[in-house]
Every structure is written in structure tokens, then in C-alpha cells.
């Protein structure tokens, strides 16, 4: 791949992002344009902004890699990411907007009238935000590594510096325009190359991808191994090798590998003949390959149905608790607009998620060796070069690289904004613009530092963890808070701690490798199946036990959440001064 094009594309994306962020507001208007200037953000623009912020690295690169590696069952990921908004639309969107809350901790305070619950919710907002930022930074590192060969930490640092600088300097003032732009950029960056690739695929007599059998090399392919790996062979394979195989040096010599396990030393180049089956890589984790497209694959094979339900629950119910998603709904002028916005988001995200599987399937046909070297996530980036080649391929590849970077930038900046906002309000002592800057640096420094310390965290694990924790903590809080009168502050606090805490502990334990296999491993790796009901149950039971603590303003609050704004004008006006006193 031509590095110059890709680097240029990434630079252009970064610059345009900063430019729109800084200048979007500078469009000055005069008195006659007052109406235009004071027009609220429409559902379409807002929906594009929400989608732009939501579609992260995992969506842009990860899904294609997953499909390449494991086939169509991985489509549950895009389905889950999208369907989360359906739940949001049905249960949460309009009431959340009507509550007047800007962050999720604001909602906790508005509904439960308890500063303690607010503080607890803030901790979860910050925690989930950091968990979600971690994979974004790591993904950026991986992408830049693939594009330019720079060391892994460079990409994360670039994104961190750009985002922190932009947010802290107030460069993200017109964040709605920035994020909306990022959505359309990401869609274009995936759609245009996909059309060209599909054309090339038709020109190639439209070969079918096979998922029930191992993928095969279509032509003689040289694969260079960056790291030492073990491969498994089901049948003997004759190939050429330069480097060290099974501790024996070769220099472009031909050899035949028997059935069984073989060790390929780092730096070895293997030449596979056309029609050979792609060998399976065994124990990727031991090889230290940081692939996000390896979401606990071993456990999936053990209890696939349970794992799928775990994934579905976490993604369906976790979306509503993501801090950067909740914050964008504040921009809608009223509850109806918030609902309409969510509907448009469903359409936009649904359209976007049609594309990554295309790349996954094409990658299975044309770049099967990616599964072998552990670079499956690069599928999206390398396909144009493989199928089209030449300057055209380079240009399309650069477009994809730019889109991928837009994905990191938009998600990371949205998360940083909301985490920094909560940090300024509830964690750091004093208030003021300078403290917001300090909070921004803190919001980014922690995940960056964690990323440096925990270099071998698989990215999909971290994303899954964020979703599972959010589904077990904020989903019960939001759903019960909006739809049940009986929720009390102690109940909410207990549910947050026990549900969210259990999910957090479970996935931490999995990552530490405490239960290596079996049911206990599956249970801990996909906690949502039991931690979400646990969160709900705790909230309900503790609330029932502390019935006397139901906040006095519950009836008024629920009326405000559920009635259209025009109807609540009078009651809201008459209750406000009392609340103030």
C-alpha cells in the first residue's frame, strides 16, 4: 500500500475535522438572519451527528475482520449495535430528553432527587467512558501501524493529542456539525470503495466465499509473519519458506509440512501455492497478537448459543447507557424531536452496517492470509490494493484510511467531551473553563496510560466490557426510572453497584484468565445474560424494601417525563419555584 496517500488522507481528515469544529460557529449573522441563527438542530442533522459519534473503530474495521475470521454468525455484532437504538427509541429517547438532563448523572439526580446517586452514576459514566476510549486509542495505533509501520503507540498518541487539543481549546464548539460530517465521511469512505470492489468482484466471475470449509489461497501468495505463531494443518502442505520453520532455517527452499502443529518464527516468509487451504492459527493469544477481531473465540465454540445471547443483551441494552450517546439527545429541542432523531439514527446506522460485512466476505476470498498473520482487521484497508491495485487502489485505500481515522476521532472526541464534562461537574472540586481543560486532559490521559500499561488487551473485549457494564448499570436505572414509580435512591444505588459492579468484575476476571474454560468461563466472559437481570432485580427489591424513601417529587417528575412539553407547561411552571426553595 502506498503510505504517502494514506498519510495524506489521514492528515486531511484531521485538518478538516479541526477546521469545521473551529469555524462552524464563526458563521456570523446579522439581525435579519436571527431566525436562521436561532433555529434548533433538526432531527436529521442531529441523527447524523449521533451516528457519526457512535460508529467507532470496532464498526469501521472490526466487523469486517470478524466476518473474515468467523463467518456470518458475527453479523450479530452489527445487528446488536443497531438494535440498541430500537430499544432506546421505544423506552428511553423522548422521556430522557424531557427530563432536561444533559448527562446520565443529571438524569439520576432529576429522577431520584439524590446527590449521592448522582455521584455514583457519575463514577459509572466516567468508568464506561474510559473503557470505551481504551479500544479507540488502541485501534488507532493498530491502523497507523498497518498503514505506515509506525510503532503501535503512535496512533493512539496522535488521536489523544488531536482530540485533547481540539476539545480543550474549545475547537469542538460546533460538535454537531463535526460529527455529522464524520458520519457522511465514514459512509462515503466505505461505500465508494465497496462499489468499486463489488465491480471488480463481478469482473472476476463473482467467486463465492466459503465459511463451512477453510478458506483457500486463490493464487500463489507470500505471507510474511511479523510474530512467531503456531499453525495447525489438517493435511500435508508443500510450500516455500524463507526463515525459520520448526527451528530449522530455510532460504527460499521448498518443504512439505505434515499434519499437526508447526512453529513459524517471526520474520519468516512462507509462499503458499494456489489452491492451498489457509492453515488455522492456534493460540493467537500466546503469540501476543492484539487483534480485536478475536472476541473470546474459544468460549464461543464452547457455548455459542449462550455467548450469542450474552452479546445480544449487552449490545441491545447497553447502547442507552453510553455517555456520548445520551449527551447528544440534549441537542434535540423536545421529546418528539428526540424520538424522530432516534428513528433517523436507526436508518443511518442500519445503512452503514450493510457495508462492513461486504468487506469481510471479500476479504475471505481475496485476503485469507490475514487470518493467519492476525491482521484480520486490516481487511478493509488492504482490499482495494488486492482487487484493484495501481493508483486507483491506492486512492481507495487512502479513502478508507481517512474514514477509519474519522471513526477514531469522532468517537474519541465525543467520549472525551462527555467524560470531561462529568469530571468537571462531579469529580473535580472547583468549576470554571480552566477546570474543563484540566478534566479533558485527565479524561484522555487515563485511558492512554492504561493502554500503555495493558498493551495486550483484545479490543473487542474492551468494547464488549463497556457495553456489558452499561447494560447492567444504566439500563436498569433508565428503564425503571422512566417507567416505574417505585424506584428509590437506595434501590438505584444498590442496582448500580451490584449489577454494574458484577459485570465489571466478571469481565476483569475473564481477562485475568482466572477460569480458563468451561461454563464458568462462558458465564464470566459474557456477563450480560445474568448481570442485567441481577441489576434489575436488585433495583426492584431494594426499592420495594425502602418504600418510604420514594422521592416526594416522583409524580411530578414522571408527568414531566411522559407528557408532551406543551401539556406540562403549567405544572412545570408551578413546581419549579418549590423545587428551587
Amino acid at each position: 500500500m502506498n503510505h504517502a496517500y494514506a498519510v495524506a488522507a489521514v492528515t486531511v481528515v484531521v485538518l478538516v475535522t479541526l477546521l469545521i469544529g473551529a469555524l462552524g460557529l464563526r458563521i456570523s449573522r446579522t439581525t435579519s438572519d436571527f431566525y436562521v441563527a436561532s433555529r434548533t438542530v433538526g432531527p436529521r442533522l442531529n441523527a447524523a451527528a449521533i451516528s457519526g459519534e457512535y460508529l467507532s473503530a470496532a464498526s469501521f474495521l472490526g466487523i469486517a475482520g470478524l466476518v473474515l475470521l468467523q463467518g456470518p454468525e458475527m453479523l450479530w455484532y452489527p445487528v446488536g449495535y443497531t438494535a440498541g437504538y430500537l430499544v432506546l427509541l421505544l423506552l428511553v429517547a423522548a422521556p430522557l430528553r424531557r427530563s432536561g438532563a444533559y448527562t446520565l448523572s443529571d438524569f439520576a439526580e432529576a429522577r431520584l432527587e439524590s446527590p449521592q446517586v448522582r455521584r455514583l452514576a457519575s463514577l459509572f459514566v466516567v468508568g464506561i467512558g474510559w473503557l470505551y476510549l481504551l479500544p479507540q486509542l488502541q485501534g488507532a495505533g493498530l491502523t497507523l501501524e498497518i498503514l505506515t509501520g509506525a510503532p503501535g503507540w503512535v496512533g493512539g498518541l496522535v488521536v489523544a493529542v488531536v482530540v485533547t487539543g481540539a476539545v480543550a481549546a474549545g475547537g469542538m464548539r460546533s460538535i454537531t456539525f463535526v460529527q455529522a460530517f464524520q458520519y457522511w465521511l465514514k459512509l462515503t469512505a466505505l461505500l465508494v470503495p465497496a462499489l468499486f470492489l463489488a465491480g471488480a468482484w463481478f469482473g472476476d466471475d463473482a467467486p463465492r466465499a466459503r465459511f463451512d470449509a477453510p478458506a483457500t489461497f486463490r493464487e500463489h501468495t507470500s505471507v510474511r509473519f511479523q510474530e512467531t505463531v503456531r499453525i495447525e494443518l489438517d493435511r500435508p502442505l508443500t510450500l516455500t519458506a524463507t526463515g525459520t520453520v520448526d527451528d530449522r532455517p530455510y532460504d527460499n527452499g521448498s518443504l512439505t509440512l505434515d499434519v499437526g502443529s508447526h512453529r513459524i518464527a517471526s520474520g519468516t516468509t512462507l509462499g503458499f501455492p494456489a489452491g492451498a487451504e489457509v492453515p488455522e492459527q492456534s493460540d493467537t493469544r500466546a503469540a501476543g497478537a492484539a487483534i480485536w477481531s478475536e472476541p473470546l473465540a474459544d468460549s464461543r465454540e464452547e457455548h455459542p448459543l449462550y455467548a450469542t445471547y450474552g452479546l445480544i443483551l449487552a449490545t441491545f441494552l447497553g447502547t442507552m447507557g453510553l455517555p456520548h450517546v445520551a449527551v447528544r439527545f440534549y441537542t434535540s429541542p423536545n421529546g418528539t424531536a428526540a424520538r424522530r432523531t432516534t428513528l433517523v439514527v436507526l436508518a443511518l446506522i442500519g445503512a452503514f452496517y450493510l457495508l462492513p460485512p461486504v468487506y469481510g466476505v471479500l476479504g475471505r476470498i481475496y485476503a485469507p492470509e490475514l487470518a493467519l498473520t492476525g491482521d484480520a482487521d486490516a481487511a478493509v484497508l488492504v482490499l482495494p490494493e488486492r482487487l484493484i491495485g495501481g493508483v486507483g487502489g491506492d486512492l481507495l485505500g487512502a479513502l478508507l484510511a481517512g474514514g477509519a481515522f474519522a471513526a477514531f476521532l469522532s468517537t474519541a472526541s465525543g467520549l472525551t467531551m462527555s467524560v470531561a464534562g462529568v469530571l468537571t461537574q462531579d469529580v473535580l472540586p472547583a468549576r470554571g473553563v480552566r477546570h474543563f481543560r484540566l478534566a479533558t486532559v485527565l479524561a484522555m490521559a487515563v485511558p492512554l496510560g492504561l493502554g500503555a500499561v495493558t498493551a495486550d488487551v483484545p479490543v473487542a473485549d474492551a468494547v464488549g466490557l463497556a457495553f456489558a457494564v452499561s447494560a447492567s448499570s444504566f439500563c436498569p436505572l433508565l428503564v425503571l426510572g422512566i417507567w416505574w414509580r417505585g424506584l428509590t435512591p437506595p434501590g438505584a444505588a444498590a442496582g448500580l453497584v451490584i449489577g454494574g459492579g458484577a459485570a465489571l468484575t466478571a469481565v476483569m476476571a475473564t481477562r485475568a484468565g482466572i477460569p480458563a474454560a468451561g461454563w464458568s468461563h462462558s458465564l464470566l466472559a459474557w456477563p450480560a445474560v445474568w448481570s442485567v437481570p441481577l441489576g434489575f432485580l436488585t433495583m426492584v427489591l431494594v426499592s420495594l424494601a425502602t418504600r418510604s424513601r420514594i422521592p416526594p417529587g416522583t409524580a411530578a417528575t414522571l408527568a414531566r417525563l411522559h407528557l408532551p412539553e406543551e401539556l406540562t407547561t403549567k405544572p412545570a411552571g408551578s413546581t419549579a419555584p418549590e423545587a428551587e426553595r
Binding site: L25, R26, I27, S28, R29, T30, T31, F34, Y35, A37, S38, T40, V41, G100, Y102, T103, D106, E109, A110, E113, G170, R173, S174, I175, T176, Y330, T331, S332, P333, M417, A420, G421, V422, T424, Q425, R431, G432, V433, F436, V453, T454, M508, A509, R511, A512, G513, R560, E565, T568, T569, K570, A572, G573, S574, T575, A576, P577, A579, E580, R581
Partner: protein, 403 residues
Amino acid sequence: MTTIEIAALAAAGALLLAVGTALGRLSARRAEKNLDLGTPVERATFLTLHTASLAAPPLRAGLTEDTARKAARRLRSLLGTETLCLTDRTTVLAWDGPGAAHHQEKVMLKVAEMLDSGRSTCVHTACDDPSCPLRWAVIAPLTGEDGVLGALVAYGSRESAVLVRAATEVARWVSVQLELAELDRSRTRIVEAEIRALRAQISPHFIFNSLAAIASFVRTDPERARELLLEFADFTRYSFRRHGDFTQLADELRCIEQYLALAGARFGDRLGVTLQIAPEVLPVALPFLCLQPLVENAVKHGLEDSRENCRITLAAQDAGAEAIVTIEDDGVGMDPERLRRILAGQEPATAGIGLSNVDERLRQVYGDDYGIVVETAVGAGMKITVRIPKYRAGVHSSPRAES
């Protein structure tokens, strides 16, 4: 792996903190024991003062059934009587102690007698039940600003001058608390009245000037005159509205638009306006009419007090969990010292609702961190910055009725 280590480290830290807190508490308690606590008399005084201070907070909220119930328990332990009862002028509010069944209905007759005289009395209860300990009752008046509000009735088993004296003193102390409560209430009422006055307080000059400006267009440009009249009607409807203390930034901006249209009719080309509004902050809830007075102030400084053209810049920016609104004019400016005196209330403001009122209301709603920030000097224009949190408990905007 390392994540687990970090988690373990955090857990260990939390444990250490908890242990430290517990140890600190323990040692503090021990130190207390060793302290010199004074003579028995002094200790009794402390105890009495402590009980009295516990009874004060509920009474500061006024004399109601709820507050009387909370206070009666403390007052009874203060007096050390069998039973204590608090009444208002007509009914028993709280009864603490035995004997509620057969004494409660009789007590109001006695209280009614006391209400006429307004002085403490000691009466025999004439109870038929020989085992009942409530033989004598001391009835002491609770007085407020407007005379007797109710009574404190202390029951004892025998007639005692000490009880009479004690009950009278306690009743006097309770009366002081009730007077303070009344003071609190009237202070709240004054603040409310102020806000209500502020709301309706469109400068009479503005009404006069607007109508004069509209009149000047009636013949030359009837269409414009009609538009201006409609703007004027909308503006007054918004300013005079009765419901809700809060509004959305979008509505406040519309009000400012109407104001500027009317001001523009008067000043013509001399007034230029630049707007930079981030659409993200338009739904922010804020106190009703807290920006329009600032714009009015800018117009006054920029146009009325000078002969030159004036440009007013109105910007609303999104800044994380806050919205930042700035209003800037290039008019005559102001001496910062004088402005400080006006904001401190030492010098009366000259026009309209004025900066100090906006400042006061913002502080009242959002706390002292959120007052207005003014940058100005004589001849250098004026820039006013207002920070508004996007969410604050109790602040809910009510949208404009017609929209």
C-alpha cells in the same frame, strides 16, 4: 493481567482509606473522654442548651402539625414533664406523652381562656381518673408578631412554681424561634415579589420610545409599522407572562430579536448586530428574562449615550456541560469602580432591570459561581459573559405558549 493488578491496588487503597477513617474516629472519641467536661452544673447547662438547639430547626419552619410534632418531643425532655402539648389558636397540633385520650379535647377550652388574657396560667385538670398523672397544667402563650399564635401546655403531677417558670421561659424561647420563622417567610416573600416585579418591569422609556418609533412609520411605511406593532405585542406577551420562572435560550433569543427590531426602528442604521449562536445550546433552560436586560444595557451604552454607530455582538457557545453567552458592545463603556458599586447595590442602577438584578437571580438559581462577568473600561465598550449550566436540579424550562 495488569488491569487486575490496578483493580487490586485500587481496592487496597479503598480499604486503607476505610481503616484510616475508622482509626481516626476512634482516636477522636478517646480524646473526647479525656477532656475536661466541666462541673455538673455546667454539664447540665450544656445539655439543656443542646436539647434546645435540637428543638430549634423544626420550629424555624413555622408552627404546623409536622413541625410541632418534631419539636414537642425535644421540648418535653427539656422541661422534664409528663406530657407536653402544642396548640395553635384552635386545635391541638402535637401531643407528646400519655393522656392524649381524655385530656386532648378538654385542653382547648383552657387554652381559649388563656388566649383572652395572653398570660401564662396554671390550672387544675380535674381529671376523674385517679391513676392519671396529669393533675396540673401550665398553659403558656406562644406569641408572634401579630399576637398570640398558640399555646404550650405542660402537664405535671403537682402544682409547682418551678414548672410554671420553666414552661413560661420555654414558651418565650419558642416564640422567638417562631418570630424568626416569620422573618424567614417574609424574606422569601420579598424575594418572590422582587422577581415578579422584575419580570413585569419593562422600562417605561422603552415602551414610550417603541410606540413613538412605530408612530413615525405609520404613514410612511404602514407595512413596517404593522410588523413592528406585532413584534411589540409578542415582546410584551413574553415579558408579561405569568407562568414559569425558566425559559429556553431559543425563546429568550426570540425575545431579544423582537427587542432589537424595535430598537432598530428607533435608531435605524446606527445599530448593527452580529450573532454567533451554536445550535447545540438553544434548548438550554435559563431564568426567564435574564439576557434581554443585558442586551438592553448594551443598546443603552452603545447608542443612547453616544452619537456614533454601535455594533452589538451576541454569542452563545457550547462548552461541555455549560453554555457560555457573551454580549458585547463597542459603546461608551463604564468605570469599573462604579459598576462594582452598582453590582454591590451601593449605587442605584440608572436603567431598566439592570445588571445587578440579572446577577442576583443567576446567583440565586445556580450558586455564586455563576454570576455575570463584566469586562469594561471608560470608552472601551463592555463585554458581559454569562455561564449557564445545561442542567441544574429544579430548573425546567416551560416552552412558549404559542409554539
